[in-house]
């Protein structure tokens, strides 16, 4: 999947919302879900869920597929993997820097 640069830039923002994060959690590693299935047991309306799914779709975290009259949504881990790599990198650099600071002030 080759998301555009802009789409990738928005992955963080797309995930920065509890509803969308819970949708991601419900979709990942599972077969594609319909909007009605996703709104089942939720306090949100179908429209609200659709809106959130479209945000996730715009950054490539979910894709919609047609099945008959319904749209099914499926999870794509790739955009998140890309971000995870980057944050892991920054986080690792901090671990190393703070370890050096520790040695520096404790010596």
């Amino acid at each position: 999947m080759a998301a555009s640069r802009q789409a990738r830039a928005l992955v963080f923002a797309a995930l920065g919302d509890e509803t969308r994060l819970s949708l991601v959690a419900r979709l990942c590693g599972r077969p594609p879900h319909s909007i009605s299935k996703l709104s089942h047991g939720s306090r949100l309306t179908r429209q609200a869920i659709t809106k959130h799914l479209r945000v996730l779709e715009s950054v490539g975290i979910v894709h919609s597929v047609r099945r008959g009259r319904e749209s099914l949504f499926k999870f794509d881990p790739q955009p998140i993997e890309g971000i995870k790599e980057y944050l892991d990198f920054v986080s690792e650099q901090w671990d190393q820097a703070l370890f050096r600071l520790k040695s520096f002030v404790e010596d």
């Binding site: 590693g29 995870k84 892991d88």
Partner: protein
């Protein structure tokens, strides 16, 4: 979602010592591995040259935000902007905050880096191992979720 990196580390040194290591530009440079041109001044750009082996060609730049003695030191920067082909100046910087708290054995240092939601994530960097921190924790949750349900 919590999109920031959070670290906490216990240092067996007094707060005053840690404060100096953080805010004296020469001392900061020692452990951070950057040779800075001059002292940190709030509101001003701090510049220098990375001294980390293998990255000596990289320039280092940050804008000092707050210096509240022995309490808070913060700056904004473009985190680990190590690819000379990318113009990082177009990206919104992240905010790095060091907070110090006195403890019975020395100092508790809390580090947060926030504002990653503004950073294009298409920087291709090598993958590194998983760490703690708010965001990475969330990512781990998703990751676990994925691997548990193949």
């Amino acid at each position: 979602m919590n999109n920031q990196i959070e670290k906490r580390i216990e240092l067996k040194a007094p707060v005053s010592r840690v404060w100096r290591a953080l805010t004296d530009y020469r001392e900061f440079g020692e452990w951070f591995r950057v040779k800075l041109d001059g002292p940190f001044v709030p509101g001003q750009v701090a510049r220098g040259q990375v001294t980390y082996p293998g990255y000596e060609h990289i320039k280092w730049e940050a804008v000092v935000q707050k210096m509240e003695p022995e309490r808070l030191f913060s700056f904004t920067w473009h985190p680990y902007s190590i690819d000379p082909k990318i113009d990082y100046s177009k990206e919104t910087p992240t905010l790095v905050e060091f907070r110090l708290e006195k403890t019975t054995s020395g100092t508790l240092l809390l580090l947060t880096e926030s504002g990653f939601d503004k950073i294009p994530s298409d920087r291709r960097l090598e993958a590194f191992r998983m760490n703690d921190g708010g965001w990475t924790e969330q990512m781990k949750n998703i990751d676990n979720h994925v691997s548990q349900t193949p």
